[in-house]
């Protein structure tokens, strides 16, 4: 049974076992507007929680993607390079950025659940 967590930097991570799938939230893609470029991390990269893991750019803004947890990148979504617009279309589904093997599942406690994140976004506006 997988579980989804959210970061204050507007990443989501869906965790099953010790592997998490990371992407940016619907709220984040709405703020960015049409995404024109995505850079994903390299497979095998060791990331600490909060490390820069990639870049997402729209016509008007460029943002870094931060890893919500520590671990090793096990897979990246190659499709995003050719079709960055997928981030707008399926932000919390098909447009995942990378998969990471968690080294410290305890870090998930630093993240928010869906309800808390919803409130967090509301406070941002």
């Amino acid at each position: 049974m997988s579980q989804i967590y959210f970061s204050e930097d507007h990443e989501w991570i869906e965790v099953e076992g010790d592997v998490g799938v990371v992407g940016i939230t619907n709220y984040a893609q709405e703020q960015l507007g049409d995404v024109v470029f995505v850079e994903t991390p390299e497979v095998g990269a060791a990331l600490d929680q909060g490390d820069e893991a990639g870049v997402v750019e729209s016509v008007k803004a460029a943002s870094e993607i931060y890893s919500p947890v520590s671990g090793e990148v096990s897979d990246v979504n190659e499709e995003l390079a050719d079709n960055p617009g997928l981030v707008n279309e399926e932000p919390e589904d098909g447009a995942w950025f990378f998969k990471i093997k968690l080294s410290d599942p305890g870090e998930l406690d630093d993240l928010m659940d869906a309800a808390a994140y919803k409130k967090f976004c509301k406070d941002q506006d």
């Binding site: 049409d34 024109v36 470029f37 850079e39 750019e57 729209s58 016509v59 008007k60 803004a61 460029a62 870094e64 960055p84 617009g85």
Partner: protein, 979 residues
């Protein structure tokens, strides 16, 4: 008694002479209009401009004394004064080289571009639909650079070759993350000014420069992240640099080649030698030396580094009707967007000069360029051979245009003898001379040169005779193979008639100040008067080499001294450095000066730079480049600095506070009441105060940053002091400092005395290639101040404030004016809130901006400093009639929005969403819009008299950024689209 036949009273001769006549030429509104406009303002008791000033500007910061710049003189007298100054500059035959070369600006380009307000008064092409002409000219520039350098992608210019090299160094560092080295190898045969600027830049980025011979020393050096090699070198040596390039690649580093585009016409490209980045100056493609600038530098690289490329890139996209359309691409890379994450110090470009360089290639075409370049090289060969015969040693046998001569112990003496014949040579050292040939070098110059070296034997040498015997200097493996400039644009406009019409055709696509006001907030698009502009292309200002001996540049020295004194008086500072070439570079320089000052007091650890959240994005970017750490200070709901937050942060960082960077009046267009207090707080905690001079147009003659507590400012001479924007450059960002900072202003490695106070301290390194930045455009600011005088300068400020308040009042009935200061007044600009329309009508600020195109206007500043708003700065130069014309357009657009709000117009298919409307649409068979053609094309009656037809419909930004194309598309694409 004689009676004045016009007015019935006798005027004095002085009154008839109207010495200050220029005031009414520069300032738009007449006396009567000023009164009428004042009467519309809501603020009480503002019957005249002085009362308006009292009401708008806090009393505590008002300057008490009148400016002490000289009284105004007429336009004709100003020209005479500049003529006299110009005569003090001596234009010798320049054979100095070192990155600056004589060139012939083709007269068709001189007259139709450089001296044409249709080109030089345009703004940066953010609004692509009214900028297609210069975007195309810039695309030509990029294509030319790509072709000559053998690279895949080029930007649309950087400020100069030295800063281009510094940008390249920073880029290879960040683009090549795997390489963790912090050392950068610079081949010793680079121009000294390039090396000096690199050293300045590297020091504050924590990078180390290693200097050596790339062929012999590079491999033995340890880890390196990059290499810069110049080819041809500063010694003139031309070589195959693929060895050093392969060596740096073997270390996992990237290779930058600095080069000369004229040499590349004949020689193998750096791209073919394996370069990763190629930089250089396009100056000698028709842009006069101008005692150092302005010129366009170029930057070319490989496709894979496109997102790391500094500066502006023009890209091809499509418009809403599917036709090709140009725009500035990948803007999120840009410095002002990335703020403290920026890794570049470039915000603007050198558009006007890049346009000229591109046009030079268009006009001459590949064949013409081959002849020019061939002629230059031939003359260099003739000189080398002649001097060999006269018994002198030529150091490098393989050269393009520059010969390094071995003259043991004689260099200074021979250079002096050459000067007696009005020829400037370069002295490398007491034993070596440099002789550089350019497009302007004449046969007689060669003959004169021979006589300098040997009066008798030299006279016997015949240029024609030598010509028959020389050749083969460039070995086959270094000769360029294959055609250059194959695109049709470089093969179509070689007659003057064709070129003139091509330039006219491009120009007609753009909206510049010659068509309508450009009310860009924070950009001060005021009049660039003809009298101010004319001297720029005078021979004595245009054709001086920046490293020419000072006794040949006395006119420039006078200009610089007088302008320094006047600008110091206007700002309340005590010294000015003219070196920075743009506002962002001025910020960078000012912060370096602050750091150096702290270091001189043993407080080099002061590294915190406070920046309000409302600051322009270049501020945090410059701070980071200067090695400072940014701490953001909050703003209140009015956009003013939150003084309580500032106090807290200043106290918290008291031990390591370096500076605060603020803008005054604020970026929100308001005279903040507490600015003096803000300065005091920062000073009390050991910091220095940097005031961004972007909004100086609201202060001249009224208040001075130097008086209310600032220590440093950059002055955007291209805003407040009338240097035109050039369609996106040149800019000029000199900095003013208080006395205690003067010893730290930059010096120059090749020109003495640039900072007269340098002996008292430790100056920062140079930030530009040339000692006085873009010196040749300084006569513009000089002429402006001279013609306005103290009274005129103050009145300009007052009318700028009046014009902004008049517009805020008229438009305030239809839009919400977001911020106002005391008495409900704004400063010299105002922000209109367009955010509510998104909800009420589905209309965005972009829709309004594009709809303004249908009215023939360039939009105000969009979504800055507040997203979803328009910031309007009318300047003093616009008349009431023009302000009303713009207000009428905005009010009409508001009515169009209201129709959507009421449900009378469709939320998706309406006048705003479909704007701008092109002639293609008008002439299409079917008209399927739910509104009339009249409403689309002629929404106001007066537009019928002078309609601007946008050449393209709305440009698709997303398509352009997802699929970047930044070279010229095949002509068929345009033809197909036109059908």
């Amino acid at each position: 008694m004689s009676i004045d036949w016009q007015h019935g009273e006798r005027l004095t001769l002085e009154a008839l002479e109207v010495r200050d006549d220029f005031l009414r030429r520069h300032i738009g509104p007449t006396e009567d209009e000023v009164s009428a406009m004042l009467a519309t303002l809501a603020a009480d008791g503002v019957a005249d401009l002085d009362q308006l000033t009292d009401a708008a500007v806090p009393k505590s910061i008002r300057q008490t004394q009148e400016l002490s710049v000289p009284d105004s003189i007429s336009e004709r007298q100003t020209q005479s004064a500049l003529r006299a100054m110009a005569r003090r500059n001596k234009v010798f035959v320049s054979m100095i080289g070192a990155g600056y070369h004589g060139t012939i600006t083709p007269p068709v380009i001189l007259r139709n571009v450089l001296e044409n307000p249709g080109w030089y008064t345009a703004y940066t092409p953010y609004q692509a639909e009214v900028s297609q002409g210069r975007l195309e000219a810039l695309l030509n520039f990029q294509q030319m650079v790509v072709d000559l350098t053998g690279m895949e992608l080029a930007n649309a210019s950087l400020l100069d070759e030295a800063t281009a090299a510094a940008e390249a160094m920073a880029m290879v560092k960040r683009a090549n993350r795997k390489n963790k080295a912090e050392r950068f190898f610079v081949d010793a045969d680079v121009h000294p000014q390039t090396l000096a600027v690199l050293k300045t830049r590297a020091a504050h980025l924590g990078l180390q420069i290693v200097i050596g011979d790339a062929e012999t020393d590079l491999e033995a050096e340890g880890e390196l992240f990059g290499l810069l090699v110049q080819n041809p070198g500063t010694s003139g040596r031309l070589r195959d640099v693929s060895g050093p390039i392969a060596a740096i690649h073997a270390k996992g580093g990237l290779a930058i080649v600095a080069t000369d585009p004229m040499a590349l016409v004949l020689t193998k490209s750096p791209g073919a030698m394996g370069a990763d980045v190629v930089v250089g100056s396009a100056q000698r493609f028709g842009v006069p030396m101008g005692y150092g600038g302005p010129h366009a530098a170029f930057f070319a690289t490989r496709e894979e580094y496109k997102r790391s490329t500094p500066g502006r890139i023009i890209g091809v996209s499509v418009d809403a009707e599917g036709r090709p359309a140009l725009r500035m691409a990948l803007q999120t890379r840009e410095q002002h967007i990335r703020r403290d994450k920026a890794t570049s110090n470039i915000c603007t470009a050198q558009v006007l000069l890049a346009v000229i360089a591109g046009c030079y290639a268009v006009y001459h075409g590949p064949e013409g360029l081959n002849r020019i370049s061939g002629r230059i090289h031939r003359k260099a060969e003739i000189i080398a051979e002649g001097l060999r015969r006269l018994g002198h040693g030529v150091v490098h046998d393989c050269f393009y245009d520059t010969i390094k001569l071995s003259v043991p112990g004689q260099a200074h003496k021979l250079a002096a003898r050459a000067r007696e014949s009005r020829i400037n040579l370069r002295v490398y050292d007491p034993d070596h001379l440099g002789i550089s040939v350019d497009e302007t070098t004449k046969r007689e110059d060669l003959q004169t040169l021979f006589r300098v070296f040997s009066p008798k034997a030299g006279a016997a040498l015949s240029v024609e005779g030598l010509d028959r015997e020389v050749g083969g200097t460039i070995p086959g493996k270094l000769v360029r193979r294959g055609e250059i400039l194959t695109h049709e644009v470089f093969r179509s406009y070689h007659s003057e008639t064709e070129m003139m019409r091509y330039l006219r055709w491009l120009q007609a696509k753009d909206v510049a100040l010659d068509r309508a006001m450009i009310p860009l907030g924070s950009c001060t698009m005021k009049l660039n008067a003809a009298t101010e502009m004319i001297p720029v292309t005078w021979r004595e200002f245009a054709h001086l080499h920046p490293f020419a001996p000072l006794d040949q540049a006395q006119g420039y020295q006078q200009l610089l001294e007088e302008l320094e004194a006047w600008l110091a008086d206007i700002t309340g500072y005590e010294a000015i450095s003219f070196m920075p070439n743009a506002g962002s570079q001025g910020e960078y320089t000012g912060l370096l000066v602050i750091r150096q000052y702290h270091a001189s007091r043993g407080e080099g650890h002061r590294k915190i730079c406070l920046i309000p959240s409302s600051a322009h994005g270049t501020n945090p970017a410059s701070a980071v480049m200067a090695g400072l750490e940014v701490v953001v200070v909050e703003c209140d709901h009015q956009g003013n600095v939150d003084v309580a937050d500032l106090k807290t942060k200043a106290e918290k960082h008291a031990d390591d506070l370096a500076a605060i960077m603020i803008t005054y009046p604020s970026t929100h267009g308001v005279f903040e009441e507490k600015v003096s207090e803000i300065c005091d707080i920062v000073h009390a905690h050991g910091g220095q105060v940097y005031v961004d001079g972007a909004n100086l147009n609201a202060m001249v003659g009224i208040c001075r940053p130097g008086d209310f507590g600032a220590d440093v400012s950059h002055l955007n001479l291209h805003k407040t002091f009338c240097i035109p924007h050039g369609g996106g450059g040149p800019g000029m960002g000199p900095i003013g400092v208080k006395r205690h900072l003067a010893p730290f202003l930059p010096e120059h490695p090749l020109v003495d005395g640039v900072n007269p106070a340098a002996h008292e301290g430790q100056p920062v390194g140079p930030v530009s290639a040339a000692p006085y930045g873009s010196a040749s455009i300084l006569p513009i600011s000089w002429a402006y101040i001279r013609m306005m005088g103290p009274r005129g300068l103050k009145r300009a400020t007052q009318v700028a404030i009046l014009n902004a308040n008049y517009m805020a009042t008229r438009l305030g009935d239809h839009f919400k004016v977001l911020y106002t200061g005391r008495n409900g007044l704004v400063a010299h600009e105002c922000i209109l809130d367009c955010r509510p329309f998104e909800e009420t009508a589905g209309v965005t600020v972009e829709d309004i901006a594009k709809r303004l195109v249908d009215f023939g206007f360039h939009a105000p500043t969009m979504s800055w400093p507040v997203p979803g708003t328009l910031m309007i700065e009318p300047t003093e130069s616009e008349s009431k009639r023009e302000l009303d014309r713009f207000c009428d357009a905005m009010i009409q657009i508001r009515e169009e929005i209201a129709a959507i709000e009421r449900g009378d117009a469709d939320r998706e298919n309406n006048l705003l969403k479909n704007a701008p409307h092109t002639h293609h649409l008008l002439t299409a068979e079917a008209w399927e819009r739910p509104y009339s053609k009249e409403a689309a094309f002629f929404p106001l009656k007066q537009i019928r008299e002078d309609k601007f037809w946008p050449p393209v419909a709305r440009v698709d930004n997303v398509a352009g950024d997802r699929n970047l194309i930044c070279t010229c598309p095949p002509m068929e694409d345009y033809r197909a689209a036109a059908e």
